[in-house]
């Protein structure tokens, strides 16, 4: 390395370089005074949230967009208690380090009132300690994990919303035991917390009949298809199949099952129970036989199912989509789910009153008795209490018959099954 003198000409450039560096460092980290505010002004209340708008889980981003659209609708109809709702929904790419940093930004820089519908189990778990430590409500976490309720004592500021996957699997397991006590059950599941929750819940629901489960097979979201998994499940001799798969892979599972000439009784996760999925599976699977008789559950309306065309929730959904999400796919149930979440959030804001605080909002969230959520399956309620942290526990059992989901008439509360056995 050459020894170079430190002459005047160089030192000016050196200073310029360092100044550039310092300027870069300062602008990169917005300087702001560290005050603690509520995210509430006279005219606005600001909510924060994180969703995967990019990356491998980006299909779920539609949930956040649905919520956003509902809030805009509410704002145009007078807002809540005289305030407009501002929802800052940021993209965390489904990566917990991103979620953690973005959430801190939302809380400390954007001064949000609370975190609403953070999507993803791992991501929401990562921010849970921080939010609870700082007494910031983490409301209506957007996943079907059951840990939000199970851990409520340790993390009282966190609450879920949708019926959890474990409960749903318990419903299916009970149905099997009741309808077909000699069944041989196989499960295909996505190898993540979503899929594993179903496996665990199903086993729990089988109880002493655990021997009914003969084989499970997982798939990765990086797999192009699941024909291999279906083949090995078929070879196990099972006559019942639980499909715990996200829409794309659910279609593939149903199609592969039909193609390989296997006709088990199929239970399908409601995440993939939309009419869009069923139509795609019927078409690619060679006809109605591919989807006839499938049992699933529903707790929200399916926008792609024509039977709901005159349902008030469906009509509202279409109206909101038309105005606030132009070009959005009105068959995509994720948008509607987002609206359903947002409906409950608005309910909480309303009942907490005009002089709202985080404490009041949390109390309101834990004393819900919402019976008018138009986006829910008719008759379903959102209810919470100090001892019940599962807002929605009931689901309607439905069966797919010749191109239509038909209600079996049974609306099952999975949590009460579990409770009654304790």
């Amino acid at each position: 390395m050459l020894q170079r003198g430190y002459d005047m000409f160089n030192s000016r450039r050196l200073a310029a370089g360092i100044a550039a560096f310092v300027a870069l460092a300062f602008t990169a980290t917005a300087i702001a005074p560290a005050l603690a505010e509520d995210g509430v002004t006279a005219t606005e209340i600001t909510l924060g949230g994180t969703d995967p708008f990019s990356g491998p889980a980006s299909a779920y981003g539609a949930v956040g967009k649905g919520s956003q659209a509902y809030f805009e609708y509410v704002n145009d109809h007078g807002g809540v208690n005289g305030r407009k709702i501002v929802y800052k929904d940021l993209d965390d790419g489904y990566s917990p380090p991103q979620t953690v940093q973005l959430t801190r930004q939302l809380v400390e820089q954007d001064k949000v009132f609370c975190i609403f519908a953070s999507l993803g189990t791992a991501t929401s778990t990562a921010i849970r300690p921080y939010l609870n430590q700082n007494k910031i409500p983490q409301l209506f976490v957007a996943t079907g994990a059951s840990k939000w309720a199970h851990d409520a004592e340790q993390f009282p500021w966190t609450i879920g919303w949708q019926p959890d996957y474990e409960s749903e699997a318990i419903i299916y397991a009970r149905n099997v035991v009741k309808e077909k006590p000699n069944a041989k059950v196989a499960i295909i599941y996505q190898n993540d917390d979503f899929g594993q929750d179903y496996v665990n819940g199903f086993k729990q629901g089988l109880g002493s009949h655990g021997n009914l489960l003969v084989k499970t097979a997982s798939y990765e979201v990086t797999d192009p298809d699941v024909s291999s998994q279906i083949a090995s499940l078929k070879a196990s001799g099972a006559d019942t199949l639980l499909v715990a798969a996200t829409p794309k892979f659910a279609v593939q599972s149903l199609v592969a099952t039909a193609q390989q000439g296997w006709k088990p009784q199929i239970y399908l996760t409601n995440v993939s129970g939309s009419e869009t999925v069923m139509r795609a599976a019927t078409k690619a699977g060679g006809g109605p036989d591919a989807t006839n008789g499938i049992i699933s559950t529903q707790y929200i309306i399916d926008p792609s199912d024509p039977k709901w065309a005159n349902n008030p929730g469906e009509k509202l959904f279409k109206e909101i989509m038309d105005k606030y999400v132009p070009g959005g796919d009105t068959n995509n149930a994720f948008y509607l789910a987002g609206m359903a979440y947002a409906f409950t959030m608005v309910d909480v804001l309303k009942s907490a009153g005009r002089d709202i605080t985080r404490d009041k909002a949390m109390k309101a969230a834990l004393s819900l008795n919402e019976t008018d959520n138009v986006f829910l399956y008719p008759g379903l309620k959102v209810q919470t209490s100090a001892t019940n942290h599962f807002p929605i526990t009931s689901e309607a059992l439905v069966r797919y018959d010749n191109g239509k989901w038909v209600a079996t008439g049974a609306v099952i509360d999975a949590r009460s099954i579990v409770k009654s056995e304790k």
């Binding site: 390395m1 310029a16 560096f21 702001a32 708008f53 990356g55 790419g93 990566s95």
Partner: protein, 339 residues
Amino acid sequence: MSFFRLDRVAAFGVVAVVIAILPAFLPSYGSFELTYVAAYAIAILGLIILTGKNGQISLGHGAFIAIGGYAVAILATHAGVPYWIGIPAAGIISGLVGIAIGIVALRLEGVYLALATFALAVSVPSLLKRFSGLTGGVGGISLTPIAAPAGVPIDAERWFYYVAWAIAGVLFILTALLLEGRLGRSLRALRDNEIAAISFGVNPHFYKTLAFAWSAAYAGIAGALIAIATAFVSPDSYGFNLSITVLVGAVLGGLESLWGAVLGGLVVEFLPLWAQRINEAAPSVVYGVALVAVMLLMPGGLAGGILRLFRRTRPEASAPGATTHADSSVVAVPVQPVE
């Protein structure tokens, strides 16, 4: 000694002072984000050693970041190992794995190495999920959040900021020192013309494996810092995107100069956080375009560009972005590993 040139010491001193006083002017989440910058800078420093100084392409360094993160998490939760031991342990464990991968990498070159490391990066989440007894599987592992030690009057975020940057500073100086002498010359010689270097007595197996292990160790330390700051590790954090991100940061920051690590760290940390407020796809497009633009126009990256401001002579002709005459007739030939 020529190592302690006045302009270098001055630059380092100024930057060190800035880093030391920044937390006073920033809210705690600002210090928190800058902690991640330190971690990324350390990982990128490793890539500068491996790719910038030694010419080996790795698209899989996310794997070592994952190993570091999980190492500190597993040691803490299964064996109660405190973080101040866990961080160097993470570096050592990653370094050991780096030796293994480095030995395999000896037989692969250029695009083939890129391809193999690409495949490695993509496989990491699967491996993490599989050995769930140790790694907590898909649910991940929660770590105890950082806390400032008793008696220290600053909050946890700022405390850890200083810890991370202190580690980064030490590694920075260490790297510069080691690269100054024979070690650095051997690495660069192997990068520029391996056959010639061998004929001069440089042992390629030793130095190339060393470069891999060294950069892996740094990535492991970075992974440990990230895991502790996030207080959570899960397979989702360590997908292919992470490996790409770190390499992008190294290239944009600049592979020629160690300062590229800090600039790269700043880019990697803040570009996604801010660009995505414009549009969720914006960071990707900006990254990609910037990457291509930098390679075409300014192969030395940001650091190279800034350095050019106050250097009269052109930077080393053997920087990775430039062509070398000896190779130009061979570049277009499918280069297979020799024997």
